[in-house]
């Protein structure tokens, strides 16, 4: 097994920041808001590895910084400090040292992202098929016939009715919008996929189908994934390893079954004990 992503000391602070920010925030301080300068320490010193074909869970309550982690790696938000190395076959990229054009290239060609809010991942002014075409065009596939065929194959794979390929996403149900988003993210067959609360807010049967689809894709394409969720059931079903976050810090990391059955940190114990 080979490493695909290595994240070291990833940090992100919103606001001016001051020398006391780090020591006055975190799980012990019970806040992520610095009392001295009012900055929000969204994440501090987050490190983890991801191997090819592996699914890593990032769990924690809202405000724990879990989404900030994937947004930083996907170049949605620049981190304040830290590094991330992406190993792509024989090359390695220091993500935050790349210029904007290279970052955009990686994002379009080698990464995929599925957001909780489909408005962030989909263009609502163009059709479902058009959304996929848009991503293929960005990754230099120019042939109309090839794009059309690939869009249809992806939508069929994610169980979106082909008769609706030319419909606008706003006319789709929430579960279908998520499936179009997954199809779009997979269009370039990325080796690395980020999933941010993809099934949150969907009804249970729809949620089950989305999770099912994600696992099938992982088996077929050997895509490495980072799954961000507060839902322990999703963590249990999808991930092999997990990290637990609170107030921007990683407080625990381990095999998923170990974290759920033998949690070490007081907060994780409380989290697991209060799950339904």
């Amino acid at each position: 097994m080979n490493k695909i992503l290595e994240v070291r000391g990833l940090s992100k602070t919103y606001g001016p920041g001051c020398p006391q920010c780090v020591e006055s925030t975190g799980p012990e301080a019970d806040t992520n808001l610095c009392p001295h300068c009012g900055s929000v320490v969204a994440i501090h010193d987050v490190s983890f590895d991801l191997f090819e074909g592996e699914i890593l869970g990032v769990m924690g309550e809202s405000g724990s910084g879990k989404s900030t982690v994937v947004k930083a790696i996907y170049f949605d938000q620049a981190p304040s400090s830290g590094e991330a190395i992406f190993y792509d076959s024989d090359k390695q990229h220091e993500l935050f040292a790349l210029n904007a054009a290279r970052q955009r290239w990686l994002r379009n060609h080698r990464f995929g992202m599925v957001y909780q809010n489909p408005h962030l991942g989909l263009n609502f002014n163009i059709s479902a098929g058009g959304n996929i075409a848009e991503r293929l065009l960005m990754s230099d596939v120019m042939d109309y016939g090839a794009i059309r065929a690939r869009a249809k194959a992806l939508l069929a794979r994610t169980e979106v009715l082909l008769s609706r390929v030319d419909d606008l996403p706003k006319h789709f149900s929430g579960g279908m919008q998520q499936r179009v988003q997954i199809a779009k993210a997979l269009a370039t067959r990325p080796p690395l996929l980020f999933l941010d609360e993809v099934s949150t807010g969907l009804d249970l049967s729809v949620q089950a189908r989305i999770l099912d689809l994600i696992l099938e894709i992982q088996q077929e394409l050997k895509t490495a994934m980072v799954v961000v969720t507060h839902d322990l059931g999703v963590i249990r079903l999808l991930t092999g390893r997990a990290i637990v976050m609170k107030y921007g810090r990683v407080i625990e990391t381990g095999l998923t079954d170990q974290i759920l059955e033998d949690p070490q940190h007081a907060y994780t114990q409380r989290l697991v004990a209060s799950a339904l």
Binding site: S205, D212, R236, L255, Q264, R270
Partner: protein
């Protein structure tokens, strides 16, 4: 027979932060498991039988001891110190665990649930499903159930699916936690036959059985566990230095230990 697993001085206790409690679960457990043999763990409820299995599989983080595993390539690995990826790799290739619970995807057909471990080893989907079908018919699970998710199954049916999934990849080491507990006598008999078959093919097994009779029939070796001693004794003998300091505090069971933990620096 060749030793595949050596457990030396395994110990496990749980530190419950919320209640300020230290719960002992296993203490100084040592034994050896060999290829082609079944080692049975026996002892009263609360003696920590499952805790030993979970500690080996890393579902629990061991608190003390060494768990030496000899892998297919002849390497020796202390599973207490092994990395998460090393453990995942061993789970994928060599070590199986059948518990009393079945966790699977909501929509997944039984045939795919059982075939799953083979897919992880690179077996093609058709072949994996074929072998799953063979195993399920050997276990007398009606064919009409194969395309349905096990979520709706009875306890006995579900347990058979669980066992089939544990058996299908023929792991080198198989951990079994009461595999025949919820089965009717005929099915239990069939499972016992499968266990004997795997043993004959060289799989090493470490098992907990509900019925003493099953243990008598299948076990080549029996390891008896006793309930872990009261917390005071446990501390003196076992737990690492920082906790030893707590012994200075007045003893008297878990509750006062909790108080001592609170006061500890």
């Amino acid at each position: 027979m060749i030793p595949i697993l050596q457990v030396e001085g395994y110990g496990k206790h749980f530190q419950l932060h919320e209640q300020n409690k230290l719960i002992p679960s296993s203490l100084n457990v040592s034994f050896t498991v060999r290829s082609g043999e079944l080692t049975a763990l026996i002892g009263p409820t609360g003696a920590g039988k499952s805790s030993v299995l979970k500690g080996i599989y890393r579902t629990y983080l061991p608190s003390a001891g060494r768990i030496l595993y000899h892998d297919a390539l002849g390497h020796e690995l202390d599973m207490v110190l092994a990395s998460e990826h090393q453990i995942l790799e061993l789970r994928r290739r060599e070590i199986g665990f059948v518990t009393q619970f079945l966790h699977c995807l909501p929509r997944q057909a039984t045939l795919d649930v059982v075939a799953q471990p083979l897919l992880g080893l690179g077996v093609s989907r058709e072949e994996a499903r074929q072998r799953a079908a063979d195993l399920l018919s050997a276990m007398q699970l009606p064919e009409r159930l194969w395309s349905v998710s096990p979520a709706t199954f009875s306890g006995g049916e579900r347990q058979r699916v669980n066992l089939a999934r544990g058996f299908i990849a023929k792991p080198r080491l198989l951990l079994l936690d009461e595999p025949t507990a919820s089965l009717d006598p005929a099915t239990a008999e069939c499972v016992i036959g499968l266990i004997e078959g795997l043993k004959a093919e060289g799989t090493a097994m470490l098992a907990i059985f509900h019925h003493p009779e099953t243990t008598r029939r299948l076990a080549d070796q029996v390891v008896e566990l006793t309930s872990p001693p009261a917390v005071e004794t446990l501390l003196k003998e076992e737990i690492m230095a920082p906790t030893l300091a707590l012994l200075a505090a007045p003893t008297g069971g878990v509750a006062s230990l909790g108080a001592a933990l609170r006061e500890a620096p």
